[in-house]
């Protein structure tokens, strides 16, 4: 597998505006390589630097040190091969649901009618048909997340960067979305970086799970290949013994780390 996205020895230090000499190093010396068609999940304690890494991969944040390579080229500016689903709300409040979903198509110059048609189809896929005319503030939290998902997926990007995409959804809707995502992914083997706090979700979706240490100066402390057979049904696969085995293994590693991080933060 040729690497599609490679962060190598990346460090990110945030400056403090009041005191420029004092910075906060969120991520240090982190290497993350995603191959063609690989589905990589990143898990780690809250505040460890997952979003920061994703921002770097998207080209929105220049790392303080290290290199980012996309499809063999060093990344400069926005990563145009990637779609990014943000952790925070990023819908354009002045566009209604369907206009938000088709925004990317519009930017690419797709004809209005075709775009709207595809937008409607996508709204249906994320269970929101009938809500096309609502503005973001008229939607529930989970609905906004699904609009963001459709907004990203409609562009069919080569690389998917997803930051806790399903955490605001109920378990059932979540599984529907997960299956939707897996189907899409398997159709043309996209490369995915998927951030989640749900280890079960991570395992059931991924080829690989990367575990980050607690911040500051977070870095990967584990890299687990998930050799569960494909295609998978996210609901069923959780019950297989091999799944439970992997889960327990990663869980232990993480638990230690989190407790360490928590203690560290409390000591500060």
């Amino acid at each position: 597998m040729a690497p599609v996205l490679a962060l190598e020895r990346v460090s990110c230090t945030f400056l403090s505006r009041e005191d420029p000499s004092e910075g906060y190093t969120a991520v240090r010396d982190t290497t993350l390589v995603v191959g063609e068609g690989e589905f990589v999940s990143v898990v780690g304690p809250t505040g460890c630097g997952k979003t920061t890494l994703l921002n770097v991969a998207a080209g929105l944040l220049k790392p303080s040190a290290g290199t980012v390579t996309v499809l063999g080229r060093s990344l400069d500016g926005i990563n145009t091969h990637a779609g990014y689903m943000f952790q925070t709300e990023a819908l354009m409040p002045w566009r209604n649901t369907v206009q938000n979903v088709v925004a990317g198509l519009e930017f690419r110059g797709v004809a209005r009618e075709e775009a709207l048609e595809r937008g409607d189809a996508w709204l249906k896929r994320v269970g929101l048909s009938g809500f096309g005319k609502r503005y973001p503030h008229q939607l529930s939290g989970g609905m906004r997340k699904r609009v963001a998902l459709a907004q990203m997926l409609i562009l069919d990007p080569r690389i998917l960067l997803m930051d806790e995409p399903f955490s605001a959804l109920d378990v059932q809707t979540r599984q529907l979305m997960e299956n939707e995502l897996l189907e899409l992914w398997s159709a043309d083997r996209k490369s995915v970086v998927f951030i989640t706090h749900d280890l079960e979700e991570a395992i059931s979706l991924s080829d690989r799970v990367v575990v980050l240490s607690a911040g500051p100066a977070s870095h990967p402390i584990g890299d687990y290949t998930i050799d569960l057979p494909r295609p998978r049904d996210v609901a069923e696969i959780r019950l297989t013994p091999h799944f439970i085995e992997i889960h327990t293994k990663i869980w232990r590693a993480m638990k230690e780390e989190v407790l360490k991080g928590y203690a560290q933060q409390q000591r500060q």
């Binding site: 929105l60 990637a82 943000f86 709300e89 990023a90 409040p93 002045w94 990317g104 930017f107 503030h137």
Partner: protein
């Protein structure tokens, strides 16, 4: 019960209008009483008719307005002033938006030009009027120019700040969705700065009129400001006030149009949470 709900809303609006009309009537009465030499002993002024000397008398003012329209003599002047105002408003707004966007988005240009813009804004336009006359002649153009210098800065400063208040996440999202700089402008910066623009437009409407009238006042052969100037020469305050009232009415009209545009363009904004009471 949607009917009763509609009724309630309508009642509220009616009451509001009634209030406003009442207030207007009250103001007119106060004006009348204070300026009428015979109705009251002089309060503020030593002499009875001095108040009228400064504020005119409402009856006379309305008579004046009536005669202007009845004789048709006002149309020519009003037309000139309205054209000047509208042009100043449009040109000032458009240039304010364009230059505001430009400077907000290009930090170098903004850093270099910033002191110049502020310096120009601090220049007293009234004193510079002769230069406007040199550059733009004595016709409509010089008044438009004066109005533009008032409107431009109001819009400019707001657009400039409005663009810098764009949510970084929404911006990043649009960029990830593949928006070109032009598209970012059109689909992110402009809509996001829209409420800033409208805030400045409500202010500009008034100042566009001020620009036109003051320009005429300083030198012209036509327009409501010209009429006012003529009247001031002989202390004809009734005409002055009539002119000002006439223009104010048009300013409110233009503001209403701006408000209409605002309500249409800003439907997406979350207002306080809105449930229906049935």
């Amino acid at each position: 019960m949607p009917n009763s709900k509609g009724n309630r809303a309508r009642n509220g609006r009616l009451r509001l209008r009634a209030f406003q009309v009442l207030l207007l009537a009250l103001l007119l009465v106060i004006w009348h009483v204070l300026t009428s030499p015979t109705l009251l002993p002089p309060i503020y002024f030593a002499e009875a008719n001095q108040a009228a000397f400064f504020f005119g008398e409402p009856v006379e003012v309305f008579a004046r307005l009536w005669r202007w329209f009845a004789s048709g003599e006002i149309y020519e002047h009003l037309w000139v002033t309205l054209v000047e105002t509208l042009l100043a408003f449009l040109i000032g707004t458009v240039s304010g938006v364009v230059i505001g966007l430009w400077l907000a988005l290009s930090p170098t240009a903004s850093a270099v030009l910033d002191p110049y813009i502020k310096a120009v804004n601090a220049m007293p336009r009234v004193i510079l009027a002769p230069i406007f006359f040199v550059w733009f002649g004595l016709g409509i153009a010089s008044k438009v120019a004066l109005g533009v210098t008032l409107v431009f800065f109001i819009v400019f400063f707001n657009v400039y700040q409005g663009v810098r208040e764009v949510s970084p996440v929404v911006l990043a999202n649009a960029r990830m969705l593949g928006a070109s700089p032009r598209q970012l402008l059109r689909h992110v910066y402009v809509p996001s700065a829209m409420s800033w623009v409208f805030a400045s437009l409500h202010n500009s409407v008034g100042l566009a009129f001020v620009g036109a009238v003051v320009g005429e006042y300083l030198g012209s052969a036509k327009g409501v400001g010209y009429l006012i100037h003529q009247a001031e020469g002989f202390f004809d305050m009734n005409t002055v006030v009539a002119g000002i009232l006439l223009l104010t009415a048009f300013a409110l009209l233009l503001d209403w149009a701006v408000g209409l545009a605002e309500r249409r363009l800003m439907v997406w904004q979350p207002r306080s949470i809105e449930t229906e009471r049935t």
